[in-house]
C-alpha cells in the first residue's frame, strides 16, 4: 500500500509536468513575469495571479497570527484543562471543519455588503468583493491550523524552565515572553507555515469573494480594496472553459506552480515540527 501512495504522488507530479510542457515551450520563463493573461490572443502571463495569491495569503496570515498565537497561549499556558478550555478548543476545530463553500456563500451575502458600506465611508471604490474581503474570510479559515499546533507545542515547554523563571520572581507575562515564546518560536513558525500552505491553495471561498479580474490594479488602494484574482480561482473559473490545448496547458502550469509552492511550504513546516518534537 505504501507503493500505491508513492505512485499516486509521482503520478500527480508527472501528469502536471507533462501537461504543462506545451505552455512552458511557448511562454518559457516569461510565464511567471508577464502581466497579460489573454486566452483569446493566446497570451498567458501568470504575474497578476501570482501577486493576487501572495497578497491575499499574506494579508490573511498577518491578520490571523495575533489570534492563533493568543489561542495557543491561552489554551497552552493559561487554561490548559477544564470545560471552558475544551469548549474553546472544539470550537476552533469546528472553524476548520466548516466547508469553505459555506464561508464563501456567507461572505458573499453578509460580509460583502458590510465591506461595501465601509468602503463608501472611507472613500474608495465600493466594490465590496476584493482582496480585503477574501483575506478576512481566509484569515478566519486558517487560524485553526496554526492554533492547534501551537497549543500542543506550548504545552510541551518543560515546567522546570517556567518554574525556574517564577522562582526568580518573574511575572506570568515575563515567563511567557522570555521562556515560553523563545522555546517554542520555531514550532510556532512551522504552524504559521502550515496556515500559509492552506491559504495559498484555498479555492472556493476566495473565488467567490475576490472578484476575479485578470488585470493587476495600478495603485495601492485598488490593490487592497479592489477585485483581483488568485491562481486557484483562475483555475476554478476557467478550467472548464479552456477550449484549446494551449489554454488548458497554461492552466495546468498554474496548477503545477501551486503544487510546488504548497508542497515545499508544507514539507518545511512538517520538517520543523518533527525536529522540534524529537528534541
Amino acid at each position: 500500500m505504501g507503493v500505491v501512495l508513492v505512485l499516486i504522488v509521482v503520478g500527480i507530479l508527472i501528469t502536471l509536468i507533462k501537461e504543462s510542457i506545451p505552455s512552458v515551450k511557448s511562454s518559457g520563463f516569461g510565464y511567471l513575469w508577464s502581466k497579460v493573461w489573454d486566452p483569446v490572443q493566446n497570451i498567458y502571463g501568470a504575474y497578476p495571479f501570482l501577486i493576487g495569491t501572495l497578497l491575499t495569503s499574506f494579508i490573511a496570515l498577518i491578520l490571523s497570527i495575533p489570534f492563533s498565537y493568543a489561542v495557543s497561549i491561552y489554551l497552552g499556558e493559561y487554561n490548559p484543562k477544564g470545560w471552558l478550555s475544551n469548549l474553546l478548543k472544539n470550537s476552533i476545530e469546528l472553524i476548520a471543519a466548516v466547508p469553505s463553500i459555506i464561508y464563501g456563500f456567507w461572505g458573499l451575502f453578509v460580509l460583502v455588503p458590510i465591506i461595501r458600506q465601509i468602503e463608501t465611508k472611507i472613500g474608495v471604490a465600493p466594490y465590496g468583493i476584493g482582496v480585503l474581503t477574501a483575506s478576512l474570510v481566509l484569515a478566519v479559515m486558517i487560524i485553526p491550523y496554526a492554533a492547534s499546533l501551537g497549543i500542543t507545542l506550548i504545552r510541551m515547554v518543560p515546567s522546570a524552565l517556567k518554574e525556574g523563571a517564577y522562582a526568580l520572581g518573574a511575572t506570568r507575562f515575563e515567563v511567557i515572553r522570555s521562556v515560553v515564546m523563545p522555546y517554542t518560536r520555531t514550532g510556532l513558525f512551522a504552524g504559521v507555515l502550515l496556515s500559509l500552505g492552506r491559504a495559498l491553495g484555498e479555492t472556493m471561498a476566495v473565488t467567490m469573494l475576490i472578484g476575479n479580474t485578470p488585470t493587476l490594479a495600478h495603485n495601492f488602494k485598488d490593490l487592497i480594496f479592489g477585485p483581483s484574482n488568485t491562481m486557484a480561482s483562475v483555475i476554478a473559473n476557467e478550467f472548464t472553459e479552456a477550449d484549446h490545448e494551449q489554454y488548458l496547458s497554461a492552466l495546468v502550469e498554474l496548477g503545477l506552480v501551486l503544487f510546488f509552492v504548497t508542497v515545499v511550504i508544507n514539507l518545511i513546516g512538517k520538517r520543523i515540527i518533527t525536529r522540534f518534537t524529537n528534541n
Partner: protein, 281 residues
C-alpha cells in the same frame, strides 16, 4: 521598588486580558456564520425540499434531491476505495516505521495532505475525464478518494502507534501468526481511533467543491449513472449562490444548512468517540 512590581503585575494582568479577549474573539465569526446559515436555511428544509429536483427559475418549490443523492453516492464510492487502502497503508506505516518505503510513503502522505484540492481536481480531470471524454461521478469520487487517503492513513497510523507493544508481544508469544495478530488484536484495539479518522475524512470531503468542479461537473437532474455528470451538495451551493435569482439563493441556503448539519454531526460524533476512548488524534 513597590511601584515597579506594581507596573509589572499590571502588565501581566493586561496581557492576560488581551490574550483571553483575542482567544474568544475568534469564535465570534464561527458563531455568526453558523447562526446565519441555520436562520436562513432551516425555513427552506422540508420533505418536499429533500425529495425534489430544482425547478426552473420563477417556479416555486423545487429541492435538492439530485445533489443529496449525488453527494452520498460519490462520498460512498470514494469511501469504499479510500478506507481499505488507507487503513492498510496506516497499518504498514505503524508496523514498519523504519524501512525506506515507509519513509517515502510517509513523505507522500505529507505531500498529499498539502496539495490544494483544486490541483487534485486538475489531475483527475487529466487522468479520467479527458481519456473517457465525459465528466463523470466516477472521476468525482476518485478525486474525493485521493483527498480522503492522507487523513485515514495518518489517523490509523497514529492510533496504532499508541498501542502498547506488550499487546502484540503477548499475542505473538502465544503462537498466533502475524497476520492474525494484526486482524484480531491490533486493529480491534485501535478501532475507535481508526473510526474517528474515517468520520473526520468523510466530514472533510463531503464539503469539498474544488475537486468536483471539473470531475463530476454537476447535473440539474436526478441521476444515478456513475459514468455521467452528477450533482453534489457543495456544487449546488456554488452554482446557486453565484446565480442572480432569489429563488436559487434560497435553495442554496437550504443546501448549506443540510451540508452544515452533516459536517457538524460527523464532527461532534467523532469528538464523543475520541473522548470516550480517550484518543489523541
Amino acid at each position: 521598588m513597590d511601584a515597579r512590581i506594581g507596573i509589572r503585575n499590571t502588565k501581566s494582568t493586561l496581557f492576560k486580558g488581551l490574550i483571553i479577549f483575542l482567544a474568544f474573539l475568534i469564535t465570534l465569526p464561527l458563531i455568526v456564520v453558523l447562526l446565519y446559515i441555520i436562520k436562513q436555511g432551516v425555513t427552506q428544509v422540508n420533505w418536499h425540499f429533500l425529495t425534489n429536483v430544482p425547478k426552473p427559475v420563477g417556479e416555486p418549490g423545487g429541492g435538492i434531491a439530485n445533489a443529496l443523492v449525488g453527494s452520498l453516492l460519490m462520498v460512498g464510492m470514494a469511501s469504499i476505495v479510500a478506507i481499505p487502502v488507507g487503513i492498510l497503508a496506516g497499518i504498514y506505516l505503524s508496523e514498519n516505521p523504519h524501512t525506506k518505503l515507509a519513509y517515502w510513503s510517509g513523505l507522500c502522505v505529507d505531500v498529499l495532505q498539502g496539495v490544494p484540492s483544486i490541483v487534485i481536481g486538475i489531475v483527475v480531470y487529466l487522468w479520467i475525464v479527458k481519456p473517457l471524454g465525459t465528466f463523470s461521478a466516477i472521476a468525482g469520487s476518485c478525486a474525493l478518494a485521493i483527498m480522503m487517503l492522507p487523513i485515514v492513513i495518518r489517523s490509523t497510523e497514529q492510533t496504532l502507534r499508541l498501542l502498547p507493544p506488550s499487546l502484540k508481544e503477548a499475542a505473538l508469544s502465544l503462537g498466533v501468526p502475524y497476520h492474525r495478530v494484526i486482524i484480531k488484536v491490533i486493529v480491534p484495539c485501535g478501532f475507535a481511533g481508526i473510526l474517528s479518522g474515517i468520520m473526520l475524512s468523510v466530514a472533510r470531503i463531503i464539503g469539498e467543491t474544488a475537486p468536483l468542479l471539473f470531475t463530476a461537473l454537476g447535473n440539474s437532474y436526478l441521476s444515478y449513472a456513475v459514468t455521467k455528470p452528477m450533482e453534489s451538495l457543495p456544487h449546488v451551493i456554488y452554482t446557486y449562490a453565484t446565480s442572480p435569482y432569489d429563488d436559487w439563493h434560497n435553495l442554496a441556503w437550504g443546501a448549506s444548512f443540510i451540508l452544515l448539519m452533516f459536517v457538524l454531526i460527523l464532527n461532534i460524533t467523532t469528538k464523543l468517540i475520541t473522548r470516550k476512548w480517550n484518543i489523541q488524534l
